[in-house]
């Protein structure tokens, strides 16, 4: 049986030096994969390598593509929020969702509704630089509701979030996995996700 993602003997790092021992794991549709490791263990580098932004030092990464080509294969939420400070949350999310789904129309009303579920209705049209760190994080996490890729790579998704928002994001991630998405995430917080696989970096 082919897996959605299979990683064999993967070593990655920036430059020549590998950050962790060779890694082997697989993930199938609906899996929630937690990547754990200390600060500097290479969690973000691993996510970047899985996303294809960095080339691995050695080893292989095999993605099984989706039969439906309209489904974007991959979404990545990094430490940086990918929000322009001078634009409003709605403007920022319009671009981000258009990049992921060029063909579909994600209109402004949908984006505002999503922001409302995250408690940001009032700030939807304010410049992003007026938002607090946690609010900015919530804006960028609104992508979890707007974009539906086959695989989500999440780097510390709930950093800076309060407990209510954290719970809502955890529920959303569980629902996405229930719908067949693969979730690969890193966290130092308690998120209460039913991890189906764990990968430790050392």
């Amino acid at each position: 049986m082919t897996h959605r993602l299979s990683v064999a003997g993967l070593r990655c790092g920036r430059g020549e030096r590998a950050l962790f021992a060779p890694l082997d794991f697989v993930a199938d549709d609906g899996d929630i994969v937690r990547i754990s490791g200390t600060n500097g263990a290479g969690k973000s580098t691993l996510l970047h390598t899985l996303a294809g932004l960095l080339s691995p030092i050695s080893g292989t990464i095999d993605w099984c593509p989706d039969a439906n080509e309209a489904v974007p294969s991959l979404g990545l939420i990094e430490h940086q929020n990918a929000l322009s400070q001078v634009l409003s949350p709605v403007e920022n999310l319009t671009l981000l969702s258009r990049l992921a789904h060029p063909a579909s129309r994600i209109d402004q009303a949908t984006i505002v509704d999503t922001l409302e579920t995250l408690g940001l209705r009032r700030l939807a049209h304010q410049p992003t630089h007026t938002l607090s760190a946690g609010q900015k994080r919530r804006v960028t996490l609104a992508r979890l509701w707007l974009i539906a890729p086959r695989v989500w790579l999440l780097d510390e998704p709930v950093a800076a979030l309060d407990s209510a928002a954290r719970r809502r994001v955890s529920q959303r991630i569980t629902r996405l996995a229930g719908g067949g998405s693969v979730i690969v995430y890193t966290t130092h917080e308690r998120m209460g996700l039913g991890d189906t696989r764990c990968v430790a970096l050392d």
């Binding site: 634009l87 990049l99 060029p102």
Partner: protein
Amino acid sequence: MRRVFWAVFRRELAIAGRQRGALVHQLLFFVLIVALFPLGTNTDQTVLIAVAPAVLWMGVLLSVLLSLNGVFRADHEDGTLTQYLLAGEPLAVIALAKMIVHWLASAALLVVAGPVLMLMLGVSLDAWPAMILTLALGTPTLVFVGAIAAALTLRLPRAGLLLGLLVLPLYVPVLIFGAGVVRAAIVGLPYAGAVYIMAALCVLAITLGPWAIAAALRIGLDA
């Protein structure tokens, strides 16, 4: 592909519209370079007219260079660039949209300001068409060529000086033809040939530049 192009185009235009201060700074920089020059030389009309094309074009070169320093920096720092790299569409399309807006928002002002400053230096109105034409053809070339180097030096801290060292030698053809055409127009010589060469350079930069910018951005991130 077109949808992504317009989405990036609108986003960049909105950002440029909200950072109008930066545009004014660039224009003032250009005006100051040209306005200070006569103070450093004697104000003899013949001397000024002889050097006016060179002064104007050097001003344009330096203003464009300054504006390019930050062209990808904000996107890189806030993580938008990573999302561009992951988008299913060619990165060159995104680069093209970004650079067109960058030209509209910064260099287009120089095309308007250049001829006005030329009058200030005492050059006759006869040379106006040549000045406007060469600026309109030359500034896109400068923007697209310079952006390749800006993309390459993106990951380096304080790359401003290095960017100048990389880019200014590449600007030599535009400087030679641009200033040459204006000089020819001032003394009444035909200049069509040089304008055609500038047009060719401009087309080349706009069509091939985005691909080179995209490649440079990818190289910069995988390091």
